[in-house]
């Protein structure tokens, strides 16, 4: 560039310039790096300014020079744009960062997903050969006693069936049998003589052993719930879980006559998902009650419930619930496949199931929705999702889950659509706030004071004068104490919990300001954040955002608003990549499905929502007749 400018100087009108000025002009040009041509001009000018003017005056020499110089100009221009070696080193180092991150991540993922070892299920080893009952009364009884007789709460009640003249035994666990039922329907019937009227032709000849069980079932015992068991191991398990087994002489199987009585609690309002409007019905710990609750939601032949047994040592029932001709068969197949793969000695809660069947174990976001509300489950089923209910927990799982579900509440649909949409928008806004406000605070306070309105900036400076910490430490102090407070509040009994909330929230906040540890403005920031995070309807989604908030704070502390934006983009790109059972996590947004936007930020009137969600690819698309 310098050469061209210098060359331009030789025009006839510029010739009148005095030499000194030209030297100055060209010396300034010289600062362009690597431009040899201008350097040449410059040297000449400095030494013989007068000569140069003369030399320029003669056109021929100038033309010659410029032709020869063309290559120089072209080459030196290119050279001037090639950076020095430190730039290349820096570029290489910068390139190394994503590469290293990628490989670290891949390694870490492989470690986590494989669980550190091979995950082949040892099905053959664990399933012992299940020996069958022989039909020899004494031998069977002995073998049972040997296997499980060491339990002191196991009772054997041996007696004679009066009319048939054969021996029988009731085997049960103390406290789990239904006394009333056993006494009246089993013992009385078998031992009593008065009301037991055997049919004449059968009295003399006892049916053969293989038909004995059927005979008992059909003719003798007036009990509804009855099951025949032939394997010994199965029998042991059933007895120990509380069934009452009837062993009869000469019968190569046992009859389970009484279901376990175990106490269940009454149905209460779901505590984690309380609503003002909507059914006050929550799941309980008993699977049968939960499935019956779902059945009672409405009469349909579409709902199907399939049961699986999970847990290797302690076995539990897991019910997969879906709507037969609505759910996408591929999805159902995938769910069943993953459920079958579950391999752990004990599944304590549906959270175990969630973690064992999820797509990405390294994602901070949940990939199954947990809920205590039957109405929520039934709505999800009608949208073509699949529900998983585990025995022993009131929390059902809904898969697949999308991000918008976490911020929706059943109330959005129960209230009229305008109010519902407003509340939903409010929740999206609150979620954003609870995630980003602390990061924005840090970036504004520590990096971009120009972005704060002047009057506010003055107030903040004045209040922060006495605070000895940078904003990151300051906000960490308060955020961590709020989190501790919240954690402590969960543990404490209710009356103390609320008292401690007041003590913690008001007194500690006020005192921290007085002591000059934090600024009053920060107290507002932290409380707004906390309140915003309370408005998220899903507890587990709330925890995720709480956790990510801290990550965001560190990003902001390192790079200011740039870091905050970077953090947000990172979350966005992760969410875009994430899938839950093959359904993209933020699907109505990306990949874009405009039909589903009716039920995303706003909740369209019910009359407009004629189709099921497009993202679920349901079999039956229309919701209206």
């Amino acid at each position: 560039m310098g050469c061209l400018a210098a060359g331009g100087l030789s025009g006839p009108d510029k010739k009148t310039f005095i030499a000194k000025q030209q030297v100055q002009v060209i010396c300034r040009e010289q600062r362009q790096p690597g431009c040899f041509c201008s350097l040449f001009y410059c040297c000449t000018m400095k030494q013989h300014p007068a000569m140069l003017i003369e030399w320029r005056g003669s056109g021929e020499i100038r033309e010659n020079n410029s032709r020869r110089g063309m290559v120089h100009v072209w080459w030196s221009n290119i050279v001037s744009y090639i950076p020095d070696w430190p730039v290349f080193v820096q570029a290489g180092a910068t390139l190394l960062i994503p590469v290293v991150l990628y490989f670290t991540h891949r390694w870490f993922r492989s470690v986590v997903t494989n669980g550190g070892g091979s995950s082949e299920k040892l099905t053959a080893a664990t399933e012992e050969s299940d020996s069958l009952l022989t039909g020899d009364y004494d031998a069977d009884l002995d073998s049972i006693k040997q296997a499980i007789g060491s339990n002191d709460d196991l009772h054997f009640r041996e007696y004679r069936v009066a009319e048939l003249g054969i021996r029988a035994a009731l085997i049960y666990i103390d406290g789990m049998q239904e006394d009333q039922l056993i006494d009246t329907q089993v013992m009385q019937v078998l031992m009593g003589k008065g009301d037991f009227v055997p049919e004449v032709e059968l009295e003399s000849s006892l049916p053969p052993a293989d038909r004995l069980a059927a005979y008992f079932r059909q003719r003798i015992l007036p009990v509804v719930e009855m099951e025949e068991v032939q394997g010994t191991q199965c029998l042991h398990e059933m007895v120990l879980t509380g069934y009452t087994a009837l062993l009869v002489e000469g019968m190569p199987s046992a009859i389970l006559v009484g279901k376990p009585r175990g106490k269940t609690r009454s149905i209460t309002e779901p505590t984690s998902e309380a609503l003002l409007r909507g059914p006050r019905l929550g799941f309980t710990e008993a699977l049968s009650e939960n499935t019956s609750m779902l059945r009672r939601q409405g009469r349909t032949e579409l709902m199907e419930i399939k049961k699986y047994t999970v847990g290797n040592t302690l076995k539990r029932d897991l019910a997969v619930v879906y709507m037969k001709s609505i759910v996408n068969p591929d999805l159902l197949q995938e769910v069943e496949k993953r459920v079958a793969k579950i391999d752990l000695d004990f599944i304590a809660e549906s959270g175990y199931v969630e973690q064992l069947i999820e797509d990405d174990i390294l994602s901070p976001f949940q990939q199954a929705q947990n809920t205590e509300r039957p109405d929520r489950v039934i709505n999800a089923l009608m949208a073509g999702r699949v529900a998983l209910l585990l025995d022993g927990t009131p929390f059902a799982l809904i898969v697949p889950v999308t991000f918008s579900m976490l911020l929706q509440s059943p109330e959005d649909y129960y209230e009229r659509w305008m109010a519902g949409s407003l509340l939903r928008l409010l929740r999206f806004f609150a979620a954003f706030m609870s995630l980003m406000i602390p990061s924005l605070y840090i970036s504004f306070i520590s990096f971009h004071p120009g972005l704060i309105p002047t009057e506010l900036a003055i107030t903040i400076i004045e209040t922060r004068e006495r605070v000895p910490f940078p904003s990151l430490i300051e906000i960490l102090v308060l955020e961590v104490s709020i989190e501790i407070l919240r954690e402590a509040g969960v543990r404490l009994p209710k009356p103390i919990g609320s008292a401690m909330g007041i003590v913690g929230g008001l007194i500690i906040g006020e005192a921290a300001v007085q002591a000059g540890i934090v600024s009053p403005f920060l107290v507002i920031v932290v409380s707004v954040t906390a309140i915003a995070s309370f408005s998220i309807p899903m507890y587990s989604a709330g925890i995720t955002l709480r956790m990510l908030r801290f990550v965001g704070m560190f990003f902001a502390a390192a790079l200011g608003i740039l870091g905050t934006i970077l953090f947000f983009l990172l979350i966005c790109s992760h969410l875009t990549k994430l899938k839950s059972f093959g359904v993209p996590y933020i699907t109505p947004v990306s990949p874009i499905r405009l039909h589903d936007w009716k039920d995303l930020f706003v909740r369209a009137p019910l009359t407009l929502m004629k189709l099921r969600p497009e993202m679920m690819k349901t079999e039956r698309k229309r919701r209206k007749a």
């Binding site: 520590s446 004071p449 120009g450 002047t454 400076i461 390192a558 200011g560």
Partner: protein, 397 residues
């Protein structure tokens, strides 16, 4: 073993991240902001002179004295004894003399423990004394270049010393905020111009045409808008002032009156007042051959809001018609007075005639652009004013 190596690598990466710390972070409490900037002719203040005597100073020419208004003042210690101007009012005025505005700004760091930042600069006041010597584009060069300073910052001129306008008034508020907020009164009276922010100032300077800036007068710490100063386009220097009425007249020509009054005296020499409800104006350039002339059409609707003449009945149509005529004459007088001032005294166009000409006759404008002020001084301008009194308020008296 491989896992341990990876762990070490992770550790190293993690440590490196922490080593970066908070990149370029500047905690807000370690900063203070200058919200007002006053530029005066370069005469070192007494404090500065004393300081210079003790120290060595640095090589400079005393061309400008820049005074910045810094907020907030550190209130950590108990400041019982107040010293220096402005201290104890929540702000601090600091003056420094030199010839480069940025260098002067950085010199403040020699005196203050907290760095000053320019993001929140609200108002720039230039004394007319300074701008007679230095052209406005030199003075504003740094301000327009600087990335920190926001374009919303407004520019004012001051009759006296510019730094006097930054001294606290009786109300106890911060002067820079007050000066920034004052142009908002534009909707009450045409005597206040719309605030000229930096974006607009940049275009005004760039157009090389003359323009006016609001002037502030101060007395005893009380600042008042008192007309406008004319900046000549080609030199960028101050050439004279217009009074409040002239500023209002310019607003009438430009059609920039949002609210205001016209007061005149009726045939019994009693005051009566017209409240402007709405107005429209149109400048029509006429070009016949090489003869240029302007016609300005002004139409306005308003209300008879005050009438001291008890003998007249405002509900009568003929009275209102007569009153309209009186008000029209008053405005015409104001406009003629302005025109004489512009064309004969200052020989500049600051009321938007040139702009309208450039829209209607761009070819002709190109020819006269460079000497427009002279051309304008020779151009006849006629006014055509039409007032309509729509009502006389709630009282018939």
């Amino acid at each position: 073993m491989r896992n341990h190596r990876m762990l070490m690598l992770l550790l190293v990466v993690g440590l490196m991240v922490t080593q970066t710390g908070c990149w370029s972070s500047k905690e807000i409490e370690d900063l203070s902001m200058y919200i007002g900037l006053a530029l005066d002719d370069g005469k070192p203040t007494p404090t500065e002179q004393k300081l210079d005597k003790q120290g060595q100073g640095y090589p400079k020419r005393n061309l400008i004295t820049a005074t910045v208004q810094i907020v907030p003042v550190k209130t950590g210690s108990n400041n019982q004894h107040e010293k220096g101007a402005g201290k104890g009012d929540g702000f601090l005025n600091e003056s420094e003399t030199g010839d480069s505005l940025l260098q002067v700004m950085r010199q403040y760091s020699l005196r203050r423990e907290r760095a000053v930042i320019g993001h929140h600069l609200k108002v720039i006041i230039i004394s007319t004394e300074l701008i007679q010597k230095q052209s406005i584009d030199k003075l504003m060069d740094f301000v327009l270049r600087d990335n920190d300073i926001r374009p919303s910052c407004i520019t004012l001129l001051s009759r006296g010393m510019a730094r006097d306008t930054l001294v606290a008034g009786h109300s106890g508020e911060i002067p820079a905020f007050k000066l920034q907020a004052m142009p908002r009164g534009h909707f009450r009276t045409g005597k206040i111009m719309r605030g000229v922010n930096l974006t607009r100032l940049d275009s005004l300077i760039g157009s090389k045409q003359s323009f006016i800036l609001q002037e502030v007068a101060t007395s005893g710490g009380e600042a008042e808008f008192s007309g406008a100063g004319i900046i000549k386009g080609d030199t960028g220097k101050y050439i004279g002032s217009l009074d409040q009425t002239d500023v209002q007249s310019i607003a009438w020509i430009r059609g920039d009156i949002q609210g205001g009054v016209i007061k005149s005296y009726d045939w019994h020499d009693e005051p009566m007042t017209y409240e402007v409800e709405g107005m429209k104006s149109k400048i029509i350039p006429r070009l016949e051959g090489d003869q240029l002339s302007f016609q300005v059409k002004i139409e306005s609707e308003g209300r008879m809001i005050e009438n001291w003449d008890v003998e007249e009945d405002p509900s009568k149509a003929e009275f209102l018609k007569r009153a309209e005529k009186v008000f029209e004459d008053t405005l015409l007088q104001m406009l003629e007075h302005l025109l004489v001032k512009l064309q004969s005294k200052h020989k500049v166009d600051v009321s938007g005639f040139g702009k309208q000409l450039s829209v209607d006759h761009p070819q002709y404008w190109k020819k006269v652009k460079d000497r427009w002020d002279e051309v304008f001084s020779q151009t006849p301008v006629t006014f055509d004013v039409k007032f309509t009194i729509t009502d006389y308020g709630s009282s018939k008296k």
